[in-house]
Amino acid sequence: MDINQKYTPQSWPDHPETATMEGKNKFIGFWLLLAAETVTFASLFATYLALKDKGPSGMEFSAAGLFELPLVFAMTMILLTSSLTSVYAMYHMKNHNFKAMQAWLGITVLLGATFLGLEIYEFNHYVHLGFGFTNSAFSSAFYVLVGTHGAHVLFGLSWFIALMLRNAKRGLNMYNAPKFYLASLYWHFIDVVWVFIFTVVYLMGVIG
């Protein structure tokens, strides 16, 4: 693999993310990492469900009374859209269209940042209501589950930004194509986790 080799859309392979041995290793390794992440979130979800609405006697807050769907629904839509835009970015990556890829990734980052901003707003709102981290077992479980997801979003954003800046001048090659691909894979994973959070925490929370 030569990092300085220049590609044209014609010479660019169909699956640049797995065209090299390193790429293939990263591809498999990353899927395995996602398996580990899945177990991590499964543990967090299980804990959340076990501790849902549990608190000291006379606790003021419960899932049904606390969560408000409109904001969360908007967040969900934003994150789902960002997943879609990252798909577009990967489409252009596979066609060796660097500029279009960067543009779509930029949109993805903007959407992701909006999501994160709304999440911070949401947390802030709850804290102001008096639903703090140390409030009850329920609040601890809620903040740790949703906060862990938020931390993943933050990491995903940083990853995208670092990749975009680092490779802004040199364009796509066989060395960085797998990295772009994995970052977007990670982004999809974050999205899927959020769908579960939306369902298990918010929808099931509000419904009861």
């Binding site: 693999m1 990092i3 041995m21 293939k24 290793n25 498999i28 390794g29 395995l32 990492l33 398996a35 580990a36 992440e37 177990v39 991590t40 543990s43 967090l44 299980a46 804990t47 076990a50 501790l51 549990k54 608190g55 000291p56 606790m59 981290f133 140390t134 409030n135 009850s136 077992a137 329920f138 609040s139 601890s140 479980a141 740790v144 670092a162 680092r166 060395y175």
Partner: protein, 627 residues
């Protein structure tokens, strides 16, 4: 570029090991640090047995005793047994599949340094206000009530070293999936590679629950969250579930590679193909699979209800079937073979009755109502030492003798090895067999003392005497290692003479690129096949001699881990009002870690090439093949 033949200064050697990404050198690092922690855990074990040698002994105080049992368990499992097995996996597995290195050499190094610094951090608790004292299982209500910083050392230390182990697990999985030599199909992989594969999969899926539990523990103790705070709605049983969802597979993470090592030994020293290879492989996979379904058998007395207890009891019993399949296949491997009783083989042979004894008591404990009596008594102490010492530690000792020549190029003394074996083996049974009866006689585990009125004096004294024998055995092993290293008699490719798999087809120790030409594998026990067909080279090749791409050494893994290590001290103390330095330390540590990660991702690391000319020179340059 070819640096193997050059003599290096001491400083240069240290630097080399600190920056190496070579799986064989990382294996040596794992072996040395795992060995060191094994000795630490062993000393703790001796202190335990001294304290319990007689009724009402006051050699250790109650609090110190609890610290010692906690650290003994934690050290032996996380910092001794697992790393030493990782050493063998690192040293041997890539060779067995004909690979030049693991899939992610950089991450391999990172995994080691994380484990290393996590282990050091955990053990520094002894000098910094007291070690953790809630048992290696660290049950939540006791852990939350524990004063001092011990439990925080436990949580942070295990989190760091746990990340290291997880990285190692992913690395091995990808290596085995992706980097097998041509012809090395899954069903031609040596059994040690198979067990490495399954154990790595278990690491991948078992460590996250532990990490989650440890995070809850940190949050509860340091940031006043309420996961386990009962009066705030928390639930301590969650910890037990998370811990054992990790903890039970952990047992198989340890025992499966041990099975792998013994499988290799039985085949080599019986000069016979493994009997029922396919069955052995599937039994391995099944054991790994069941490993995740049985965690609640550690919790029979928690009060989960009869339905849960019955289901988990039956699930647990089923594991006896694949394990039994393995035992009988090993027996049939040596049956009709030509057995040479070298030190590794003696360990392997001794393993069978020892492990069967541990296995049957395991089935007895699967009987939930009976377990109400056995649980948390000395019976269980006896049981898990029979499987861990009688299985894993015997495998580690066997593997040390078996793979020493491949890792260091010298042979450990067979004579001293046999002395070690007999002391250790007799001491082991003396120590632990009798503990079954102590448990049945009503002695709970984790008691720092017992009264003379309980009727347990004699058996405890016998048990302590056995421990002394084990210690003598280990001391002889150390002498053996030192003498062997001083003598430095180099050996050839296949020092045992009956090697069957690829690692024995190349020099001991192998060149840093392992295989100058990637081998072509024609069947199970490929080296044996070539030998039998009279192929002097021991291999046929899948490619012509050409340039080899190798990764660069890197200091970054060390620095990333060091940063985490430093940050942990900050995290430990930054909530204390009297320690204003702690917050800066935390920040500096994190900056070091993330800064070096940033350097890593911004700086392209494309590796280097060994040219064909260099390889040819290397082959000429006095590299003996031993024949």
């Amino acid at each position: 570029m070819s640096s193997i033949a050059q003599k290096k200064g001491f400083g240069a050697t240290i630097w080399d090991f600190m920056t190496t990404v070579d799986h064989k050198k990382i294996a040596i690092l794992y072996l040395i640090s795992g060995g060191f922690f094994f000795l630490v855990g062993g000393i703790e074990a001796m202190l335990i047995r001294i304290q319990l040698a007689k009724a009402g002994n006051d050699f250790l105080s109650a609090g110190t005793y609890n610290e010692i049992i906690t650290m003994h368990g934690t050290t032996m499992i996380f910092l001794a047994a697992m790393p030493i097995l990782l050493a063998f996996m690192n040293a041997i597995m890539p060779l067995q599949i004909g690979a030049r290195d693991v899939a992610f050499p950089f991450l391999n190094s990172l995994g080691f340094w994380l484990f290393f610094f996590g282990g050091i951090f955990l053990n520094l608790s002894w000098f910094m206000g007291g070690a953790p004292d809630a048992g290696w299982t660290n049950y939540a209500s006791l852990a939350l009530a524990s004063e001092g910083k011990g439990i925080d050392f436990y949580s942070l230390g295990l989190t760091i070293s746990g990340f290291g182990t997880l990285i190692a697990g992913i690395n091995f999985l990808v290596t085995i999936i992706n980097m097998r030599a041509p012809g090395m199909t899954y069903m031609r992989m040596p059994l040690f590679t198979w067990t490495t594969f399954v154990a790595s999969a278990l690491i991948l899926l078992a460590f996250p629950p532990l990490t989650v539990g440890l995070f809850f523990m940190v949050f509860d103790r340091m940031f006043d969250s309420n996961f386990f705070a009962v009066e705030m709605g928390g639930n301590t049983i969650i910890w037990e579930h998370l811990f054992w969802i990790f903890g039970h597979p952990e047992v198989y993470i340890l025992i499966l590679p041990a099975f792998g090592i013994f499988s290799e030994i039985f085949a080599i020293f019986s000069r016979k193909r493994l009997f029922g290879y396919t069955a052995l492989v599937f039994a391995t996979i099944l054991i790994g699979f069941y490993g995740f379904m049985v965690w609640a058998h550690h919790m029979f007395t928690v009060g989960l209800g009869p339905t849960a207890n019955a289901v988990f009891a039956l699930a647990t019993m089923i594991i006896a079937v694949p394990t039994g399949i393995k035992i009988f296949n090993w027996l049939l491997t040596i049956w009709g073979g030509n057995i040479s009783f070298t030190v590794p083989m003696i360990y392997a042979v001794a393993f069978i009755p020892s492990f069967v004894a541990g296995g049957v008591t395991g089935v007895m404990q699967a009987i939930a109502p009976l377990d109400y009596q056995l649980h948390d008594s000395y019976f269980i102490v006896a049981h898990f030492h029979y499987v861990i010492v009688g299985g894993v530690v015997l495998a580690i000792l066997a593997g040390t003798h078996l793979y020493w020549p491949k890792m260091f190029g010298t042979m450990l003394s067979e004579k001293l090895g046999k002395w070690t074996f007999w002391f250790f083996f007799i001491g082991f049974h003396l120590t632990f067999f009798i503990q079954h009866f102590l448990g049945l006689m009503g002695m709970p585990r984790r008691v720092y003392t017992f009264g003379a009125d309980q009727g347990w004096d004699l058996f405890n004294a016998i048990s302590s005497a056995g421990a002394v024998l084990m210690a003598i055995g280990i001391i002889i092993l150390l002498v053996n290692v030192v003498m062997t290293t001083i003598k430095n008699e180099r050996v050839g490719n296949d020092p045992w003479g009956d090697g069957r798999t690829l690692e024995w087809a190349i020099p001991s120790p192998p060149p840093f690129y392992n295989f100058a030409q990637t081998p072509l594998v024609r069947g199970l026990d490929t080296f044996w096949i070539e030998k039998m067909e009279g192929n002097k080279k021991g291999m046929i090749f899948a490619e012509p001699l050409g340039d080899i791409h190798m990764p660069n050494n890197s200091f970054i893994p060390f620095v990333i881990s060091l940063g985490m290590f430093i940050a942990s001290f900050g995290a430990l103390y930054f909530l204390d009002d009297d320690k204003p330095w702690a917050l800066p330390v935390l920040i500096i540590g994190l900056l070091i870690t993330f800064g070096s990660m940033l350097v890593r991702s911004l700086k392209d690391d494309l590796g280097f090439h060994i040219t064909k000319a260099e390889l040819l020179e290397d082959a000429k340059g006095g590299k003996t093949d031993g024949h």
